[in-house]
Every structure is written in structure tokens, then in C-alpha cells.
């Protein structure tokens, strides 16, 4: 109790709270930019915290961490481009919701879901960090292999209307993962003598290429509508904060199930949001009485996806606090920041620095509240993005993607990799010819080669509701960040590739 009270007094100082607020804002904005991940945001924050007190340092880092898991929602919902790999599944339902004029509801739902996910995972972290951490590190290669195979079974629910194309896409994803040096035998394979490929294709860059450019180019297919200055999302944007909070709370089973998925996967060293996000979505879909509505803009999908990726925040800290083992790259940087201040992160952390650990728990809770407040306030500003004309948004987002791809490794060659992924995804999305009889293609996933209806929003939303339009998701996963894309086939491809690597 003394440790708890001591932590409480240390966190609730004006300076710490201001720093945390800045961290929350930075995390949300960074993750909203396609290509910027939670890990990158934390890395960029690290040098700024060297001069702070240890507790302020970790509180700021946790604010960025929590904010970063939510920020990816913004571009996922408004642009159909996941800001981070852990928000891939959010695009499946949040974007269709935004397309039919419910952008405010989709964002609001995602924010509340993220808050509940972080909050539940923090409670689990406080209550069960030591026992869960011990169980998590007992998992060996067999269990990890089983987890990946389990995750790959998600492909079955993503294949859409054509099983053959779904299988082919999943296999291509696996094939892409064979590029680079074999991790077990240390033999180079399929690098074609290109140095950049020796470490495999950079996942995040492929993600940006696949998602962003295909989506952006699909926005300009209809020249008349672009030239008339139409925006990405039509219709009035209604931001129903409290009503949507109740809507999220009316799904307690989904909230708890997705949180458990996020916490458990987050607690596994090496797994992360990019696995938890689609797995939580898939579980929600399987448990739903109306699985056919998933992928067409159902609130349950947004809730599951966002709760799943946000619960990683608490889950990822379990092995770190319990055993001194970072569960992900972002956790490793958190650990490094503690070590900079002379705090040894090992299994004795809870015994030797109990007040510090309790302060971390309190900081997590405060960070989730700040994330909620910042998101609810800033979403109104972000929603204006959706009202920006396409002729402004398309070139600007393309340049942001170029920056995101370059900044990851500071390599110009990554831009070539990004461009080739973009080209491939655009070609796949274009479905070469399908539905070319004058109608503008629906920007959503491939959904089975129906001629895309929609010459206007009404028809588009009808098309999304049409039962023939099967959803098709991606998944992903693995160590840092992994991905997927807007075509079922492309998504499946990325899923399998991400899981294997």
C-alpha cells in the first residue's frame, strides 16, 4: 500500500502530467502517420527523456507507448491505410463505416475500444504480471510453432469468395517470407545478389506500399469526381462520443475476449500487436451471430480489432516487469530507458523497486486516460482530414508514405522496395479490368470480383452490405511489425508472410 501511495504522489505532479500529455499527443500523431510505428515513436522520444527523472522518463515513454497503439486507428479509419501494422484489422470495418458517412462513429468507437483494451490489460498486468510472465517464458518452439499455425488458420476466414485465390495469396505471402537469409541454417535464399534483400524484405515498407498506394490510386480512378473536388468521406461527420461509449460497453464479451487475446499474445516475447489485432478480430467474427457482416462496417469488428491491439500495451509489459524480458522492440526500448537511469530490469525489479513498479502501473492507467482525452479532443481535427479534397490528400499522403518508408532505415533503396510493393498491390487491386464497364470500383477489398457498383455513396453502401461481398482480412505478425493489404488476396498474402517471418 505504501508503494502504491508513493507511486501515486510521484505521478501526480504537474510536470510529470504535462510531460505525459505531450507524450500521448506525440504517440497518437506518430502512429497516425503511415509508416511510423509505436517503436519508432518511442525511439525518437528516448533521447528527449535522458535528462528527466527516472519516473518521469518511464511515464512519458508509457504515454507514447499507449498513444501509439491508438493512433494507428486514425489513418486506418479515414484513409484505409493502417498507421501501424497493429491496426490492420481496423481498416476492415472502420473504413467501410467511414465510407458510408459514419467516420465519427468509427473513430469514436475505436478510441473507446482502445481505452477499454488498455485499461483491462493494465488491470491484468497489475494482478497477474508475475505468474503470467513465468508461464509465458515457459513456451518453447513447439508452442510458438503451434501459435503461428493457429494464426495461419485465420486465412480460412479471410479468403472471401474464392478459396483458390485465397490459398494462392496465402502461399505467395509465405513465399515472400523466404526472401533473405534462412534464420536457422544461415543460408542466403532468393536475395538475387541484392544486399538489401539479404535481411529479407522490410515488412513495414511492404505494408505501406501495399496499403497506401493502392488505396490512394483507387481514389483517383474517377477523374470527374476528383476534379470536382470531392473529399474522401462523403456525408456529415457526427462524433457521438457518449453514445458510442455506451455502444462499446454494450459489447462486454467482445471487450473482454479481445483484451484477453491482446494480453496473452502481448505477454509472449516476440509476438505483438500485429498478431493480436487480427486474431482478436477473427475470434470476434467466429463468435458473432452475424459473421457475414464483418468486413462491411460492423462496430464489433472495430471494437475487437482496437481492443486487441491496445491490450498489447499491458500484455507486453508482463514479461518485462515480471522477468526482465522485453516482449517486443518497443518494450526493449522501454527497458533501455530504465537502464539509462540505472534501474536494473530483471526478475527482482518488483522486489527491489516496488514503488517504481507501482508508479509504472499508475502511469499506465493515467496514460490510457490521457490517450482517451487527447483522442476525443483531437479526433475532431483528424476528422477534417476526411473532408479534405482528394486532390490535396492523395499527393500529400503519398509523400508522407515516402518519408515513412525512408525514415525507417534511412535507406534510399527502401524506396525502391516500397515502390515495387505499391505497384504490385495497385495491379492486384485494379483486378486488371474487372468491373471496368464504366462503374467506379469500390475502394474496399477485392470481395470477389463483383463489378463494383457505386457511382454514388448510396449505391456504394448498398454494395458493401451485399452478401456476395465477403470480407477478407489480413493478419500479420511477428517480431517488430507486420502487415497486410486491402485486397483479400493481398491481405492474406501479407498475413502468411508476416506470421512466418
Amino acid at each position: 500500500m505504501d508503494s502504491f501511495l508513493s507511486g501515486l504522489t510521484q505521478i501526480f505532479t504537474l510536470t510529470t502530467l504535462i510531460y505525459m500529455l505531450a507524450g500521448s499527443i506525440a504517440g497518437i500523431i506518430a502512429a497516425a502517420i503511415p509508416g511510423f510505428t509505436v517503436t519508432m515513436a518511442i525511439v525518437l522520444t528516448l533521447p528527449l527523456t535522458f535528462s528527466m527523472e527516472p519516473l518521469q522518463d518511464i511515464a512519458v515513454m508509457l504515454s507514447v507507448y499507449v498513444g501509439g497503439y491508438t493512433g494507428g486507428l486514425i489513418s486506418a479509419a479515414l484513409l484505409d491505410i493502417p498507421g501501424t501494422p497493429s491496426s490492420v484489422a481496423t481498416t476492415f470495418d472502420a473504413f467501410p463505416m467511414a465510407r458510408r458517412g459514419e467516420a465519427g462513429r468509427a473513430l469514436s468507437l475505436g478510441v473507446w475500444a482502445s481505452f477499454f483494451g488498455t485499461f483491462i490489460s493494465t488491470v491484468v498486468l497489475i494482478a497477474a504480471a508475475p505468474p503470467l510472465a513465468i508461464s509465458a517464458v515457459k513456451l518453447g518452439p513447439w508452442e510458438y510453432f503451434s501459435l503461428i499455425v493457429f494464426a495461419l488458420t485465420i486465412v480460412a476466414s479471410l479468403v472471401g469468395s474464392s478459396v483458390i485465390r485465397g490459398m494462392l495469396a496465402a502461399l505467395i505471402g509465405l513465399a515472400i517470407s523466404t526472401v533473405g537469409t534462412d534464420p536457422i541454417m544461415d543460408r542466403p535464399s532468393f536475395d538475387f545478389g541484392i544486399e538489401m534483400l539479404q535481411a529479407g524484405l522490410p515488412f513495414l515498407i511492404v505494408l505501406i506500399g501495399i496499403f497506401a498506394i493502392s488505396q490512394l490510386t483507387s481514389e483517383v480512378e474517377d477523374a470527374k469526381s476528383v476534379r470536382s473536388g470531392t473529399s474522401l468521406v462523403a456525408g456529415a461527420i457526427d462524433f457521438q462520443t457518449w453514445k458510442v461509449m455506451k455502444e462499446a460497453l454494450r459489447r462486454p464479451v467482445n471487450l473482454i475476449r479481445s483484451s484477453i487475446v491482446g494480453v496473452l499474445i502481448g505477454a509472449l516475447p516476440g509476438a505483438g500487436g500485429s498478431i493480436a489485432n487480427p486474431v482478436a478480430y477473427d475470434q470476434a467474427k467466429r463468435a458473432s451471430k452475424t459473421p457475414e457482416k464483418f468486413g462491411k462496417g460492423i462496430p464489433d469488428g472495430v471494437v475487437a480489432s482496437e481492443v486487441g491491439n491496445s491490450a498489447i500495451a499491458g500484455g507486453g509489459l508482463i514479461p518485462l516487469i515480471g522477468l526482465g524480458i522485453p516482449g517486443s522492440a518497443a518494450d526493449a526500448i522501454l527497458m533501455a530507458s530504465l537502464m539509462v537511469h540505472g534501474i536494473s530490469v530483471d526478475p527482482r525489479l518488483m522486489l527491489d523497486h516496488a514503488d517504481f513498479v507501482y508508479s509504472m502501473f499508475i502511469a499506465m492507467t493515467v496514460a490510457s486516460l490521457m490517450m482517451l482525452a487527447v483522442s476525443l479532443v483531437s479526433m475532431r481535427a483528424f476528422l477534417r482530414v476526411a473532408a479534405t479534397p482528394k486532390w490535396v490528400i492523395v499527393p500529400v499522403v503519398m509523400v508522407c508514405c515516402v518519408v515513412g518508408s525512408f525514415a525507417l532505415n534511412n535507406r534510399v533503396t527502401d524506396l525502391a522496395c516500397w515502390a515495387s510493393s505499391a505497384w504490385r498491390a495497385t495491379a492486384a487491386r485494379a483486378r486488371l479490368l474487372a468491373g471496368s464497364a464504366g462503374a467506379r470500383r469500390d475502394p474496399r477489398p477485392d470481395l470477389g470480383n463483383e463489378p463494383a457498383p457505386c457511382a454514388d455513396e448510396k449505391r456504394r453502401s448498398d454494395a458493401l452490405r451485399h452478401p456476395a461481398h465477403q470480407p477478407s482480412l489480413p493478419c500479420c505478425g511477428s517480431h517488430l511489425d507486420r502487415l497486410s493489404d486491402p485486397q483479400p488476396s493481398e491481405k492474406t498474402k501479407i498475413l502468411s508472410r508476416g506470421l512466418v517471418r
Binding site: 483458390i164 523466404t178 483517383v220 509523400v399 525512408f406 524506396l415 483486378r431 486488371l432 468491373g435 464504366g438
Partner: protein
Amino acid sequence: MSESSHNEEHAKEAGEIARLLSYVVLLLASVDLFLSANAIPPSRFERLGAGAFPKIVFANIALVAIIAIVDALRKIPRDAYGRFFTATADWARRRYLVFICLAALAACLIAIPRLGFSIASFLFIFGLELGLMPRRPVSIFTALVVAAIFSFGLNWLFAEVFNVYLPRGVL
């Protein structure tokens, strides 16, 4: 049958042919990569070497591609092949803005190492906006401001705040 439903039918057929072509390319590529995987030296310590997993994957791709080809051939009527090129040209003509975007992006990516991020992205954003926007003085002014912010401004932000230095080029 009305003309539009006729066109739609023809477009669908052309889509199937395009898909068929992609299956053929996949089949050829997977066979080639399967053979390349054979060249990866086996391990002295493990029965399954580094080439085993790629071989399993590429063999399966080849198998599924064959099934997909057979399936596609079954669906495509014979006379559809003759209309394929016309339909392709129509499709491409309707989406000329997509090609403009991709070409502009390619030019920007090529120019970045030479001209630097700021200049290349300024030209890209402004040029593409000019191509896409309704031509009005206000729009042109907006385009200029947006281009400057997201090229020179973004470069400044990354360099000064994040210490990430984007290619400088001639600057």
C-alpha cells in the same frame, strides 16, 4: 440484354483473362523458384535444409496455380480472348489519372536522391495537385501552400525535431 450489361459481361470476361495471365506468370515463377530452391545447399546437421521450406511453398503455389488456370479456362468463353485488348485499352483509358499518379510518383522517387527530398516532393505534390484539381486561382494557391508545407516543412520537421535527415540532394 442491354448494352451496359453487355459491356459489364465483357469486362468480367476480360478480368478473368487478366487473372488467367497472372496465374500463368505465377506458375512459371514458382516453378523457376522451386528449381532455384533446389540449389540452396542442404544442411549437414538437419534433414531439412534451408531449401526445404521454400520448396514446399513453391510446389504448393505451382499446384494451386494449375488448379486456378484450369478453373479460369473453364469460365472464359472462346470469343472473349478476341475482345481482351480492346477491353484493356478501354479500362486503362478510363483510369488515366491512376497512371498519371503512378508516373509522377515514380519520377519523384527517381528525383529524390538527385534533387533532394524537399525539391522533389515539392514538384511532385504541386505537379500532381495541378493535374488533379479543379483549376481555380484559390485552388492553385492552396496547392502551392500545401506543397511547400509537406515538402520543405516536412524536411525541416524531421531534421530539426526528429533528427531524421531526408536526402538533401542539390541543397
